[in-house]
């Protein structure tokens, strides 16, 4: 969802700070965006706002490749960073949709959680330093360029997932890790009778895959469909020797679970994985709404089935991605057109939250989006979160109303 008016896109941190300070003093509101790839998350702002873009705030501040650290401006795209790092044999597990557009700042601000975190950890765990423009226009830095640092509060991690409501992230310092040399993806149909055993087999593999999904629907994202029963997709990465062993283990485990046939790709494996990640927020214009539910791996398949059934009761078409290793359930519910979805969307939203109170809307372009419970039930510590907002942004200048609990 692009904003109607052209956003202001400062090229320096100082210029951005000046704009923010002026707005804050004058009672103006600011909406902040990077590549707009996760703009379907969160609530609309409570007041008209100046659109501020970080897209021109780009560039590498420091690239200490021998130290496995890098510092970049927030407007750099994930692809830009990872192409640079790939040239040095390194990577950061960003795992976000549309990396050619998604920015470092936006991905961090949204607290995006990728499927490879089971193996590599959360993106926040790679953030070793940051610079943030606060509501008064001043710049606060935290951390630095060392991989271990416990000097004071971990402010960088606090900004991750804060949706720009505490300040605008303008620089991110990361530790990087050596890139795995090889990648391989497995695709197989996943008939209903095999699903439970396949999930258990994946969890018990001695060499953990980097990602494993049950994908139901999303026909444009991956091939190898088997009617409505979905597919299993497994990503392995690592050294050639490791892949050989993991491949044998995975083949026999899936075979024992009754999965009928497995196709294996080396060429294009990373692209296939990326297409599944892209599907998390791919919307069907105004006729779909996509929810994400955090779950435990042992419960995720059952919870996915329950919400699929619920959607069918509302006569909505469903497509699902279940992250077998982390437990995330992504459900895209769609109607024939905007009107048919519009007639059901709010009551379906109530029903899904009754079943899954934490369900978050991660992609929706339907006009009724403003009436949805976009964040799910308020977190236990919401009052403390409101107090933090009040202390960091007393005039509610930054992204007012967009975040959890109306923050």
């Amino acid at each position: 969802m692009r904003t109607a008016t052209a956003p202001v896109a400062p090229e320096t941190i100082d210029a951005l700070g000046t704009i923010v300070a002026q707005a804050d003093r004058g009672g103006g509101k600011i909406s902040i965006a990077g590549g707009n790839t996760l703009s379907g998350m969160g609530l609309p702002l409570e007041a008209p706002a100046l659109a501020l873009s970080t897209l021109r705030l780009t560039g590498v501040v420091a690239n200490e490749s021998a130290d496995l650290t890098i510092a970049v401006r927030a407007g750099m795209t994930l692809q830009g960073v990872n192409v640079l790092l790939a040239g040095q044999g390194q990577f950061i597990p960003f795992d976000a949709p549309a990396p050619q557009y998604a920015t470092v700042g936006g991905t961090l601000a949204a607290g995006w959680l990728g499927p490879r975190r089971h193996r590599y950890g959360r993106l926040r765990d790679y953030l070793i330093g940051s610079a943030i423009v606060l509501a008064d226009g001043s710049v606060a830095r935290a951390g630095g360029m060392v991989v271990k640092n416990v000097a004071g509060y971990d402010m960088s991690r606090l900004y991750v997932g804060s949706f720009g409501t505490l300040g605008i992230l303008v620089q991110a310092n990361f530790k990087t890790i050596p890139a795995p040399g090889h990648a391989r993806i497995f695709l197989a149909p996943l008939p209903e009778r095999t699903r439970e055993r396949a999930f258990a087999a994946l969890a018990a593999l001695p060499v953990a895959p980097s990602a494993a999904f049950w994908v139901d629907g999303f026909h444009n994202s991956i091939d190898g469909d088997d009617g409505n029963e979905g597919r299993v997709a497994v990503l392995l990465d690592g050294s050639e020797a490791l892949l050989e062993r993991a491949t044998r283990d995975l083949r026999s485990a899936l075979g024992r679970a009754g999965v009928p046939e497995t196709r294996v790709f080396d060429t294009g494996a990373r692209e296939s994985f990326q297409r599944i990640v892209d599907a998390y927020v791919a919307n069907l214009g105004e006729r779909s709404v996509t929810y994400r539910i955090a779950s435990f791996p042992t419960e995720s398949a059952e919870r996915a089935l329950n919400i699929q059934q619920l959607a069918r009761r509302y006569d909505l078409r469903t497509e699902t991605i279940v992250d077998a290793l982390n437990g995330d359930v992504v459900l895209r519910a769609s109607g024939l057109d905007s009107r048919t979805l519009g007639g059901k969307i709010e009551s379906f939203d109530d029903a899904i939250h009754e079943l899954e109170p934490g369900a978050q809307v991660i992609a929706c372009e339907h006009p009724h989006r403003v009436h949805l419970n976009a964040w799910g039930e308020a977190p236990a510590a919401v009052e403390r979160m409101r107090a933090l907002k009040a202390r960091f942004d007393p005039n509610r200048t930054l992204n007012p109303g967009r975040f959890v609990g109306g923050i």
Partner: protein
């Protein structure tokens, strides 16, 4: 005196007589942690539950007394000692595993649980808790969380914050709240981990457990020069190899450790590198040949592996007991804790040697080389005032050089009482004010572990108590 008696009575009412200590000889036990400076509390309490912690906090608030939460007292920066009077809450009786969900690799534990006990008790499920400070045989999970503790295995697993999934916390009013990294909203869990007890008192934590690696191997390599050894460390990491641990010891430490433990380190070398690789057989085997080639290129005298689990354990016992072994060299030691970018290790080590030489202090280096996290042990005799002064000057000089090299003033021990004034050397007023805003929300009256972390002169972030 009357007020103290009333306070004592109220605390006993909440916890029973066996949960409250006010006798001077009991209190002096809690006057110090592993840092040199201390301060005696008015009372020490040993609650058994979240409710009891909450009750104590409410009583303390009524009496206007500050609170310091304390685990095993192994902290090295004076973080767990009272600044002036106040009540110490010891978590040592809250040491249970409350829930174990092995299938989803997580457990809910109380803060007084000993770090190593957790790994021991989940071993049968093929799991372990990754953060392993050298004090892990006695340090508590609560203390690890308060300081965001590190350890040799940080290199591949990260510090404690990477392994905490959620917290139950008592705030400064005695109210209980919970956080989870999977909740929507701000990541309060990350803000609380490493806050050194200034934002709340953790009464239970969901922690992440990892699957035990199928293969673990440990090697020692001996070098004739520290510089060559630290260059080898940088080269290993730069080559894209991330061992699970990459530890270095100089000849002062190796000599002391061998005399104390017979760990199996080569004597007579200027530097010994301890390398551990863990994971899948295929990867560990590949790491070994790559590491061997690199250390040879850097002039290692030799590299050899532990042949048995017992040999491996002995090598680690030597490393983890290194600080204690220096008791053979001097009656006291002070551990500095700074972190520099890995490639600056050789320069940082030269600066350490120069500072020690200038002030005529014996220094032993034992540290997490793979992280650039230095721990010079400055040896002295506390009874000699000249030596005490020289140690302070040497420690400061090391801190200065780390800052100049783009490093930080604490890699894993924390700021506490010791380094709070050094915070202004790495952070601006605006940076510290942002941290102060977090403090304002959780502890506006500065009753939780006051006078820690924040520089003594910091007024910018303080608010008038309501």
């Amino acid at each position: 005196m009357k007020r103290l008696g009333m306070l004592r009575e109220r605390l006993i009412g909440a916890l029973g007589t066996d949960g409250v200590k006010t006798e001077p000889e009991d209190l002096s036990v809690y006057a110090f942690d592993a840092y040199t400076d201390g301060g005696r509390p008015l009372a020490v309490v040993l609650p058994r539950s979240t409710n009891e912690v909450s009750a104590v906090v409410k009583i303390a608030r009524e009496f206007g007394e500050p609170i310091v939460a304390r685990g095993a007292g192994t902290g090295l920066c004076g973080g767990a000692v009272p600044a002036a009077g106040g009540i110490v809450i010891s978590t040592m009786r809250m040491n249970r595993i409350l829930e174990l969900d092995a299938a989803n690799r997580r457990a809910r534990v109380e803060p007084g649980l000993i770090n190593l006990d957790l790994s021991r008790r989940v071993a049968a499920d093929g799991l372990f808790f990754a953060p392993d400070p050298s004090s892990q045989q006695i340090s508590t999970i609560g203390g690890n969380i308060a300081t965001n503790a590190g350890g040799p295995h940080c290199l591949s697993y990260g510090t404690t914050v990477n392994h905490v999934l959620g917290l139950e916390v008592v705030d400064e009013t005695g109210e209980v709240f919970t956080t989870s990294i999977d909740d929507s909203g701000y990541d309060l869990t990350a803000a609380l981990v490493g806050s050194e007890g200034t934002l709340g008192i953790v009464t239970s934590a969901w922690v992440r457990l990892l699957a035990q690696p199928e293969a673990v191997r440990v090697w020692v390599a001996a070098f004739d020069q520290m510089e060559a050894a630290s260059e080898a460390v940088s080269a290993i990491v730069a080559a894209g190899i991330v061992p699970t641990a990459l530890e270095m010891m100089d000849s002062v430490i190796v000599t002391a450790v061998e005399a104390a433990f017979h760990a199996g380190y080569p004597t007579g070398a200027a530097a010994v590198l301890l390398v551990e690789s863990a994971g899948f057989e295929e990867d560990v085997a590949a790491a070994e040949s790559a590491i061997r080639a690199i250390v040879n290129q850097h002039g290692a005298r030799y590299m050899r592996g532990a042949r048995t689990a017992a040999e491996r354990a002995a090598l680690w016992a030597g490393r983890k007991g290194a600080a204690g072994a220096t008791g053979r060299i001097a009656p006291n030691y002070y551990t500095q804790d700074v972190c520099v970018p890995r490639s600056k290790l050789p320069t940082a080590l030269r600066a350490v040697a120069a500072a020690a030489a200038e002030h005529a202090i014996t220094v032993g280096n034992v540290f997490h080389a793979g992280d650039g996290n230095l721990h010079p042990l400055l040896m002295y005799d506390r009874r000699d005032r000249r030596q005490v002064a020289a140690v302070v000057l040497t420690g400061n000089a090391i801190l200065e050089s780390a800052i100049e090299l783009g490093g930080t003033i604490s890699g894993e021990h924390g700021i506490g009482w010791e380094k709070r004034d050094a915070m202004t050397r790495v952070y601006t007023t605006a940076d510290l004010a942002a941290m102060g805003r977090v403090r304002d929300v959780f502890d506006p009256r500065r009753r939780l572990n006051p006078e820690k972390i924040f520089p003594s002169g910091a007024r910018c972030s303080e608010v008038t108590p309501p």
